[in-house]
């Protein structure tokens, strides 16, 4: 999995490329923690290139969302591929976290 980061206005866009599973989820957890610890608690997870997410990945997303909320911000998801979106829907994550089909609409919601 590759993680790229870009700051747009006050939002940190974290783009995921590849599989988020038990082997890679700890890297994502560290990355989100580092972003939150430096005071950036508005995170947009761009999942357009994420092609798989397991339970370990879902847990890391939830931990990240909790950290953002505790810091007064929010973790938002966007652009899930069909298979990952289905996993997120079945596991109830899309009713707990904010989700947008496009990056533009997700960023617009942050302003």
């Amino acid at each position: 999995m590759k993680i790229e980061e870009q700051t747009i206005d006050t939002t940190v866009v974290v783009s995921l490329d590849g599989r988020v599973d038990g082997s890679t989820a700890p890297d994502l957890e560290k990355h989100i923690s580092a972003v939150v610890e430096r005071g950036d608690t508005r995170i947009l997870l761009d999942c357009s290139k994420m092609d798989y997410i397991s339970s370990a990945g879902l847990r890391v997303v939830l931990v990240g969302a909790k950290k953002c909320q505790q810091g007064g911000g929010k973790l938002t998801l966007c652009t899930l591929r069909a298979t990952c979106k289905s996993v997120m829907e079945v596991s109830g994550f899309l009713t707990m976290l904010d989700y947008y089909d496009t990056r533009e609409s997700a960023l617009a919601s942050q302003s």
């Binding site: 700890p26 339970s55 931990v63 909790k66």
Partner: protein, 217 residues
């Protein structure tokens, strides 16, 4: 920190140290799920909707978890989460229960008492010596379910186990249960192991009810 099996065993005991009845009488499935949750949170296993896999066969240092981990790591057959819950429930839960109880006694949380009843029969009870941990678990569950905050994944998993046991009624008033119901419903889906444990127990309950309905007596 206690394991999921230890925490749920604490909640299974009443004030006299006697085990409370579990939904469907399926304590072995609850304990099997608890062990899988601990292995998942220790980053030893991972799962999705289709399969459960071993990520790292290195022992955790906890004999209960390591026995189950060795079993998963040494099996060539691919199984989903429910398959592993059923396998562990069928083979290892007596040991899981005994070792978890022994650990709780060693931590000074429970004690073991043998009592006779009707002058002949012996019954073992596990009264609580230190009730702080049990109270802390109950408070944590109540806090999470009665707020709108994003939950910690560990709390989500624990709530799935408590819900599968049918113990939420012991923690909440009827009004609180009604208020917490949408969150419980949501959490049931969020932990894939917890979701499967709840599913197995609901199936057992349905089977028992059907058997009772068609029984002539």
């Amino acid at each position: 920190m206690l394991t999921f099996a230890e925490e749920i065993l604490l909640l299974m005991l009443d004030d006299d140290g006697v085990f409370l009845p579990i939904r469907g009488g399926a304590v072995e499935y609850i304990l099997a799920g608890a062990v899988l949750m601990d292995l998942a949170f220790a980053n030893r296993i991972d799962n999705d909707l289709e399969q459960l896999t071993c990520l790292d066969a290195a022992p955790t240092g906890n004999p209960i978890l390591d026995q189950a981990l060795a079993h998963i790591a040494n099996t060539d057959e691919t199984k989903d989460t429910r398959g592993w819950i059923e396998t562990l429930a069928g083979q290892e839960t007596t040991e899981i229960r005994q070792q978890a109880l022994a650990s709780l006694i060693e931590h000074g949380i429970l004690e073991s008492q043998d009592k006779k009843f009707l002058w002949v029969f012996r019954a073992r009870r596990y009264p609580t010596i230190d009730g702080r941990i049990e109270r802390e678990v109950r408070l944590r569950i109540a806090d999470v379910l009665l707020s709108d905050d994003i939950p910690d994944p560990r709390d989500v998993a624990m709530i799935c186990l408590v819900d599968a046991c049918g113990f939420l009624r012991d923690i909440f008033s009827a009004r609180e249960i009604e208020r917490a119901a949408p969150r419980v419903e949501q959490f049931r889906k969020m932990d894939l192991i917890g979701h499967e444990v709840g599913g197995v127990i609901a199936e057992i309950e349905r089977s028992v009810m059907m058997a009772m309905a068609i029984s002539p007596h």
